[in-house]
Subunit: 367 residues, 2 copies
């Protein structure tokens, strides 16, 4: 029957939900997870001041949020010490990455990323007709050399690097990242995803060189700040690149409570530092549990620990599934050879205790 038709590009895309949420898994199994350690959230939650700020703002939810995100944008600019013209707020890094794909990708344009890196970025690239060129991880790290080589060879429009990396938790030093950025063609835009930047060792995040027109940084309130449910991230780049977001963004997209919460979270840096300490302790606890069970934890600069289960992807998947059956939600990389690992987010001590309790049995059941 004759009906409205999608664009050829849209027709070519699969209907998908790139991440199956823990809620969907719970609905399928009929059981709630006892330890939610799979989504790299911060179960320490946000600052109590954030909770207060949201509570104080609830009575104003009938008002549209500020489409300019004025107060938050100014606070962020002051926080990272760049002019306001160099900062844009968006609906999480996910939303901003989608806008970047839309702004920069002509059909067929090459985008370079690591095989096994962030699926949502790949979803956006495919969604705007970009052509993904992937390079393998090397020793569980994104390969700066291979990324640069591919970007140069393909004259890539965009290149994506997560530092620290998800899903492996590994990282490069600021100096190494800077050298990488400098080696890229001037027309290749480096998308440097620093979602896990707050939990990384000092010396991991390069200085903000906002006069460099081919680097865009991404940060978020979803991880260390504990606000994954509110969808608020930001981009830092040179002024023309930031201004371009106003060509296409959904202006009321960052909701009123997200703006209020992010502003309060940013103002409580003491709480952030305390959380970072708890995350570091949690990483050590998870690593110790892994070692106690004969597994190899990969050093991590993030709020999760990726653990080498020592055998193939099928085995690691089986470990994940047996953990899930015991009420422990974790995730895992799916691309060989990363797929030999499971990825465990830092949770509260009581959640990590559940992991410690269940892992031996899960490993045994996984065979």
């Amino acid at each position: 029957m004759s009906r409205p038709t999608l664009t050829p590009l849209a027709q070519s895309l699969p209907e998908s939900v790139p991440f199956v949420g823990p809620e969907a898994l719970e609905r399928r199994s009929g059981h709630l997870f006892r330890a939610r350690l799979g989504a790299n959230e911060s179960s320490f939650g946000p600052s109590p001041r954030v909770i207060e700020a949201i509570a104080a703002a609830v009575s104003s939810v009938w008002k549209y949020g500020d489409p300019e995100n004025h107060d938050l944008r100014h606070a962020l600019a002051a926080h990272v010490a760049v002019p306001v013209a160099n900062v844009m707020v968006g609906e999480g890094i996910d939303g901003l990455l989608g806008l970047v794909a839309r702004l920069y990708l002509n059909p067929g344009d090459v985008v370079v990323t690591s095989l096994g890196a962030y699926p949502t970025f790949n979803f956006h690239v495919a969604g705007f007709g970009g052509r993904l060129v992937t390079v393998p991880y090397e020793n569980d790290r994104e390969s700066l050399a291979a990324l640069a080589e591919a970007a140069q060879r393909e004259n890539a429009r965009l290149v994506y690097l997560s530092n620290p990396d998800n899903p492996m938790g590994t990282w490069w030093s600021a100096a190494e990242v800077e050298a990488f950025a400098a080696s890229l063609p001037p027309t290749t835009l480096l998308l440097l995803d620093e979602a896990y930047g707050e939990t990384a060792p000092a010396g991991t995040m390069p200085p903000l060189a906002i006069d460099r027109p081919n680097v865009m940084r991404f940060r978020t309130f979803s991880k260390a700040y504990g606000l994954a449910g509110l969808r608020c991230g930001y981009a830092i780049a040179d002024a023309p690149a930031i201004a371009a977001f106003d060509k296409v963004r959904n202006h009321f997209g960052v909701n009123r409570l997200a703006q209020v919460a992010a502003l309060a979270a940013l103002a409580d840096q003491d709480y952030l530092q305390a959380t970072i300490g708890r995350i570091a302790a949690g990483r050590e606890a998870i690593a110790a549990i892994a070692s106690d069970n004969g597994l190899v934890p990969i050093p991590s600069a993030t709020n999760f620990v990726t653990i080498d289960c020592g055998r193939d992807g099928a085995y690691a998947l089986s470990v994940l599934q047996t953990l899930a059956a015991r009420g422990v939600f974790v995730r895992k990389p799916m691309v060989p050879t990363l797929d030999r690992c499971i990825r465990i987010s830092v949770g509260r001590p009581e959640e990590i205790a559940i992991l410690a309790e269940e892992l031996p049995g899960a490993l045994k059941a996984a065979g």
Copy 2:
């Protein structure tokens, strides 16, 4: 200097914020508005049960929201009595309209709308390279005959109709809208924006003919439900059109508190009915104030009243500006001949009292 380049389409787009928010106006003037009657929000606010539901959920904002919006989607499907496969939740109608433009518009495809209708829709159409073809309003209503004629003549990909209409407040009956839909080419998708549907008289919204592949309905929690700040709207259409959203949507886009709040709002239909009654009373009060001042209120099915100031656009703009200087925020259409009007959202009685107090002086000052 060599730098990453935007797509030709992106280069052609202006950097803009389509709506200047009241916050921006307040920042410029240095004064807060005493009556916020310009953004068609509901200053009655949401149900107290919504406030409670948000408060109860605040401690879980560290968790990502459900990317499938499962509970809300199911509740909406039950509420409007269609299968779940016919409902999609999104970041407000704005967000959903952007996705539709992306899914359906090839560069140069024609989109038909009324000259002076929703600017954000036009922003999305331009943003995906569509070609807008506009038809004039007729007697302050969108012209169904002219929209249909243009859609047929141009073999339009999309046609937009807001019923009840923003910015005029006027409306067509369900039977007239159904005849309009039936007159469109089967390959033209009608986007029927029913953001103001709850406040319209019975018999304004056609039955949900979800087997009709060329009609998509849009509704929202931003207006009568009083949740503009949370960004939550939904689309109702045939199943293939709904499934297509999963090709491109930002899966975590509807934030956790928005899902919780919308679910609670939907469950309190008594509160909604009470609000609709208060909005109706507010419309009458605003219309009476207009008449008392020698102006002509246009009959409205929405949560605002558009008032014919009886002279040209410059005069109406002057009325708007003098009201703003007196602390009353209203908006106005900008396209002739609609621009002879100002548009006043229903507010709380105390806000309408401020309007009554300030309008005579504003009219005098506007000359």
